[in-house]
């Protein structure tokens, strides 16, 4: 079932649902003829769309609003924060082509601070589906939450079979090849379509002898804190992998949690550090930016080698002092 089909199914059974767009119909092209007046296209007017969605929500509706992720979260940010956020209204924001999925559009279209912005709004949910299956499975729970939600839209084909049904606020684990009572060498925390690349990296790293656990976060707000704390306690190296600026995304979330909990951990961020990415077609972006499974594995191996060198130097300093 596609996102559009699921949205139609929900709209048919729940007349609170309104589908809105700021002239971005890619994911909802067939809905106008099927839901009539409950499909509202405001034109290229993201601010008015969000304000109007708040007005509809005040009247008891649950609007799904669609625009490209950059324009939805940046152009209309103050409307999201002030009308939807302060109002605590159940408006569901669907941001198209987030992160690397904007491919060759260039920096104007690169939503790589969207999570940082949306999670900064009190009680705003943030859902980053790994693929079309997860996207569709989550929708009923998101509607039922009654909260404002940001969906980092991703309808890619699944890279692997899911291991756990969607449960809002719970992450999904792809365990390592180590015995259950042994700590893992590596845990990679990720979200969105990069789950597929993380799983490729898992295969490669485990072939090298590093037991590697993959965690698909699914929602970044609410965040599955227990799974992060457990990974920090039971991994030699914790990796956060994301197509987002390092500031404000998963690396920041993990840092906040482990500092607050006082969990000592070796954390490596694979993200965009203080810059936009090279615009190109997706496979080329991943290769150029070092986010393919192979390149992720290579970066992690290099980090482990550096850590070991550092450890050796520390030992040498220790012994030379004594």
């Amino acid at each position: 079932m596609t996102f559009e089909e699921k949205l139609l199914e929900l709209a048919i059974s729940d007349d609170r649902i309104i589908v809105m767009t700021a002239e971005n119909r890619a994911a909802i092209r067939n809905l106008p003829s099927k839901i009539g007046d409950r499909f509202i296209d405001v034109g290229i007017a993201e601010q008015t769309m969000i304000g109007a969605a708040a007005g509809l929500a005040l009247r008891g509706r649950v609007p799904f609003v669609h625009a490209l992720a950059t324009f939805l979260t940046l152009r209309a940010f103050e409307f999201v924060r002030t009308d939807v956020g302060i109002g605590q209204l159940p408006v569901i924001l669907v941001g198209g082509v987030p992160g690397f999925l904007s491919e060759a559009n260039g920096p104007t279209h690169q939503a790589v601070e969207d999570i940082s912005l949306m999670r900064g709004i009190p009680n705003m949910g943030v859902f980053c589906p790994a693929d079309a299956t997860e996207l569709v499975d989550a929708l009923p729970q998101i509607v039922a939450s009654g909260k404002p939600f940001y969906i980092r839209y991703n309808a890619c084909a699944p890279a692997a079979e899911h291991r756990m049904p969607f449960d809002l606020g719970k992450a999904e684990i792809y365990p390592s090849n180590a015995a259950a009572d042994v700590a893992d060498d590596i845990t990679i925390l990720t979200y969105g379509f990069l789950l597929g690349e993380a799983l490729k990296a898992q295969t490669l790293l485990q072939a090298d002898g590093f037991s590697t656990r993959i965690i698909n976060m699914r929602t970044l707000s609410p965040i599955d804190e227990n799974i992060i704390i457990d990974a920090a306690d039971n991994s030699e190296l914790l990796v956060t992998l994301e197509d987002h600026f390092q500031v404000g995304g998963l690396y920041s979330i993990v840092s906040e949690i482990i500092v607050r909990e006082g969990v000592l951990s070796n954390v490596m961020s694979i993200s965009l550090e203080n810059r936009w990415f090279k615009p190109a077609l997706l496979p080329d972006v991943l290769d150029y930016e070092g986010f393919t499974g192979e390149k992720i594995a290579e970066r992690i191996r290099k980090r482990i080698a550096e850590d070991e060198t550092m450890d050796d130097e520390l030992f040498e300093d220790f012994y030379s002092l004594n």
Binding site: D37, I40, I50, G51, D83, G87
Partner: protein, 285 residues
Amino acid sequence: MSLNDRKYHDLEALALRVREHIIKMSTDGGCFIGASLSCTDLLVYLYSNVLHVSPSRVDDPNRDYLLLSKGHDVPALYGTLAELGFIERSRLANHLKTNDSIYWHPNRAIAGIEFHSGSLGHLLSVAIGIALDIKLRGGTNRVFVILGDGELNEGSIWEALLVAASKKLDNLVAIVDRNGFQANVPTEELSPLEPLAPKFEAFGWSTKRINGHDFEQMEDAFASFDLGRPSVVIADTIRGKGLPSIEARADRWFVNFSHDEVEQLLEELHGGRTTALTSETLMVR
């Protein structure tokens, strides 16, 4: 007293009481007095003669909505709501106090306030959403939005004007409190708005222009609205209306008067002599 004077006597008396409340809120922290006094007559008229809403109907889905988009004039709305029984009059004494939640901009937690505002250029869009839902449900109630003239600088207003016209929202009525000033200077000195009515007409809105302190003109303007398109009423008003010592002055936007000045201003409101205001109580925020 002429026939019309008698007809509008009660409205004038009500407006006078609302202005008293506004003046009393202009001390101990102060308020945006100029913009509050300019829209007082409009709010009094709308709540008395136009809006289908009452203290017992604040949650009725079939009520008329009034949204204050230029939220800093909220003392006029709180004064009106208090006089009409939506909230206790005594509550206005809690203005800016932590034992209540009546602050410089509208708070939806207070009965009769439909939505929060303060950031300019938002509530015309929110009103569109409410008006769309009323249409979807086949309702006949209306949504009124008070806009400031300075607020028309915001691009989101013009975005919303296009959208409202495209959706043929004839249950939506915008009212521009055209008091001629934005925060620091006359509107025409910064980003000139005139000719204003043709702008709204060009955007597909039914447009009327009236004196925003003349109840007779309000009666005509709000008696009926065009079908098939949204309406705007541009109401020419006077910033600080009712107090000659602050009327139409650029430096009377946000004020924090002394208790003595408040006493004098209350006398001035009732025809007493012009108050001598000290510069320290006049602020530009």
